[in-house]
């Protein structure tokens, strides 16, 4: 069965690593939905959160193949129930009238977003949350007209005291 899987990988924070990983996905024909990269508490290590689509066999291969890369320190499948997942989205909404503006502001408040930019014709909203929440917000403002949008794709951590750490 095709599923969306969120995979977290700790990788050495150095040039070429992203190329190695994206190259692996292309070569093996894995379907990558999104990828986020950023530094961790250890400046030498970055965390990649990768969303792939595929069945369990694909997931197993993705994890095994990622593990083979020398620069990859640890890989884990992030079960949605046991992890906190967040995505950032910036949405520029068309709101030329006062009423449209107030409507957007109202929606933004309900979704605990933020207005981060304003012009005569547009409002730019910053919203974070899980994928469903962001999709819901987008659906809500779509009728007003979305001028532009940028999403990061999810990033994730395990809930509770559990952490991803290198094998000894």
């Amino acid at each position: 069965m095709e599923h969306k899987h969120v995979i977290s990988a700790l990788v050495l924070h150095k040039p070429g690593v992203l190329q190695r990983i994206s190259g692996l996905f292309t070569r093996r024909g894995f379907n990558i939905a999104s990828i986020t990269v950023g530094i961790t508490e250890n400046p030498e290590i970055a965390r990649m959160t990768i969303v792939v689509k595929g069945d369990d066999k694909v997931l197993e291969q993705v994890i095994k193949q990622l593990n083979k890369l020398i620069d990859v320190i640890k890989v884990s499948d992030m079960d949605e129930k046991k992890t906190v997942q967040r995505e950032l989205c910036l949405i520029k909404v068309y709101a030329p009238t006062e009423s449209a503006k107030s409507q957007v502001i109202q929606y933004t408040n309900i979704f605990r977003g933020k207005i981060v930019d304003l012009s005569a014709e547009t409002l730019t909203v910053e919203i974070t949350g899980d994928e469903d929440k962001i999709n819901a917000f987008i659906d809500l403002v779509r009728p007003l007209g979305i001028k532009e949008m940028a999403r990061t794709g999810p990033t994730a951590l395990m809930r509770g005291p559990k952490i991803l750490k290198p094998k000894k």
Binding site: K57, Q61, L69, V72, K74, P166
Partner: protein
């Protein structure tokens, strides 16, 4: 000390004595430092051949092979050789020159993104930014190349890094390599091994498939012990040839597309299949759904990613084949092993049915006859084939030898399995002979494949490397000819090589002895003369182009072996007159 000198020091510290390469601008500081060193450098006539030679060296000896090229075109010429080593898990270190760091990214003369180019075809690669990093990087590169599942490692060396002075005392070679993301598992999981032992003990129709991993892990002795202990017939993949003596009563020969009937049927009928160091490529399994349909599968491999990749596995064991087999044997000794009389009867019946008839007196010579005479000639010189290495190229020549030549010892049959690289066999033989100077090294090759690296005749002449080259000369790209006959309505499109060159004259032009053999009766004598001459020697065997191999169609069931029938081909081939005609309209 200069970076380039540090590179030489690092190579020496790894025990490297011989390199294969080709110089150029971006690698000049290295070649200058080489002048002062004791390293032996073999100048091949093409970088691809340097990579194959380093690979052949590694396959024959088990030690890493090293090849060197300049930047840009030198690096791209290495690519096919390195990809070949990667596909067959061979520990090759590839050093490429690079433009100076301040020019990287500016499309400088002979600049290429070597890091990007080699990334997907190496186990790992590096670009060294400062000479201080040389000692640690080289140590890491050799460690990565030779441990776990071996593979090629590439190091890109910008020219200024090679030239710059630094204080090497401050940057010694580290005693241990700490790569947080690299911890290969060598010891198999005890519980899984116990499970496997139980399955094997209770099996009624067990079969072993031994892959290249058995050769790589030097686990041949353990494999023989396991097979004898539990009376398990053994077949090998192409890469596994030599890991189990093929004249052993339990040997089934090679399995798969060009496998023996015995091997293919036994695997299909087995109830427990023990696969060791093999990756279940499509050439082995054929139709996955019909592959070993009654068997519980035990898969032993050092690379966890191989397990479950292509076939379902019941008992996965990640570890080094030698260590796992030892533990498995120890476990099995405590089990009661089932009697296998009826399975042995079936196995022997299948083996009888698959023994080939090879005593052809036909002219043109049949390739099977050459393989048979080669075995006989070699046995006169080296009865247990302890000191004989055969390399093949890719195509029918490869499959004739793989199917019929009974290899007895590990690391004595070298062939490009995973990538199937034409042009591999001859330069790989150079590497093998350099690695094992006292061995008889015989390069079997097709005429097409030989022409892809025939320039290396100059290398063996200049360095006086005594290799016997046996060309299976059918004036065609035989394997493609066969496939076009079988699957494309006998329409032969662009597979005819014609009568040129005259290989004997070609050899002679390099100062190498050559001989053309057209009579079946002359084969053995010619081989003996060439091997005993202890000089570079080329034998041009004129063989029957229409002779074809039995095979399992791609994606077919292993038991669906088709026997080729002789067919009159339809040939398509253009000549210069045709070219003039199609270009007649072009303005002068």
């Amino acid at each position: 000390m200069k970076g380039a000198e540090a590179i030489i020091k690092a190579l020496e510290a790894e025990g490297v004595k011989i390199l294969f390469g080709y110089p150029g601008g971006a690698m000049l500081p290295f070649y200058d430092a080489l002048y002062e060193s004791d390293l032996i450098h073999i100048l091949t006539r093409h970088e691809q051949a340097a990579a194959h030679a380093a690979d052949g060296f590694a396959r024959a000896s088990g030690e890493p092979g090293v090849c060197v090229s300049t930047s840009g075109p030198g690096a791209t010429n290495l690519v096919t050789g390195i990809a070949t080593a990667y596909a067959d898990s061979s520990p090759v270190i590839a050093l490429t020159g690079q433009v100076p760091t301040h020019l990287i990214g500016n499309d400088a003369f002979q600049e290429i993104d070597a890091l990007g180019l080699f990334m997907p075809i190496t186990k790992h690669n590096f670009q060294i930014q400062k000479p201080e990093d040389i000692p640690a990087t080289f140590r890491a590169a050799f460690e990565i190349a030779t441990t776990g599942r071996p593979g090629p490692v590439h190091i890109d060396l910008p020219k200024d890094v090679q030239e710059k002075e630094f204080d090497i005392e401050k940057y010694p070679i580290p005693a241990t390599v700490d790569l947080p993301g690299y911890k290969p598992t060598t010891v198999g999981h005890p519980l899984q091994i116990k499970k496997a032992a139980k399955l094997i003990a209770e099996a009624e129709r067990p079969v072993i498939i031994a892959g290249g991993g058995v050769n790589i892990a030097n686990a041949s002795e353990e494999l023989i012990r396991l097979a004898e202990l539990a009376r398990i017939p053994v077949c090998t993949t192409l890469m596994g040839k030599g890991s189990f003596p093929e004249d052993h009563p339990l040997s089934l020969g090679m399995v798969g597309m060009h496998g023996t009937k015995a091997a293919n049927y036994c695997v299909t009928e087995s109830d427990v299949l023990i696969a060791i160091g093999c990756r279940f490529s499509d050439r082995i399994t054929g139709d996955i759904k019909a592959f070993a349909p009654y068997a519980k599968i035990i898969h032993i491999d050092i690379d966890p990613a191989e397990i479950g990749k292509n076939v379902r596995v019941d008992v996965p064991i990640v570890g080094d084949a030698k260590i796992v087999l030892r533990d498995l044997i120890a476990n099995l000794m405590r089990c009661e092993i089932k009697n296998k009389e009826s399975w042995m009867e079936r196995v022997n019946e299948l083996k009888k049915a698959s023994i080939p008839f090879m005593d052809y007196d036909d002219k043109p010579i049949k390739p099977q006859r050459i393989v048979k005479e080669l075995m006989e000639a070699l046995k006169e010189i080296d009865p247990n084939l302890k000191k004989t290495i055969i390399t093949t190229d890719v195509g029918q020549n490869q499959m004739w030898v793989a199917h019929y030549f009974k290899v007895k010892n590990p690391r004595t049959f070298l062939s490009s399995g995973g990538l199937g690289t034409m042009g591999f066999g001859f330069p790989a033989a150079i590497g093998a002979k350099v690695a094992k100077p006292n061995y008889n090294v015989i390069s079997i090759t097709g005429d097409g494949g030989f022409l892809m690296n025939s320039q290396e005749l100059a290398t063996i002449k200049e360095y006086d490397i005594p290799i016997v080259i046996c060309i299976f000369d059918n004036r065609t790209l035989g394997m493609v000819y066969q496939w076009q006959n079988l699957y494309y309505g006998k329409r032969q499109c662009e597979v005819h090589l014609g009568e040129s060159p005259d290989f004997v004259k070609l050899a002679e032009s390099y100062g190498i002895k050559g001989r053309r053999i057209t009579e079946p009766g002359e084969i053995k004598e010619a081989l003996l003369e060439a091997i005993k001459s202890n000089e570079p020697y080329l034998l041009d065997f004129v063989i029957d182009p229409a002779e074809a191999l039995s095979m399992v169609p791609p994606g077919g069931r292993l038991t669906n072996i088709i026997q080729p029938v002789r067919e009159e081909p339809k040939i398509r081939r253009a000549c210069f007159e045709d070219i003039k005609n199609v270009r007649a309209e072009v303005k002068e």
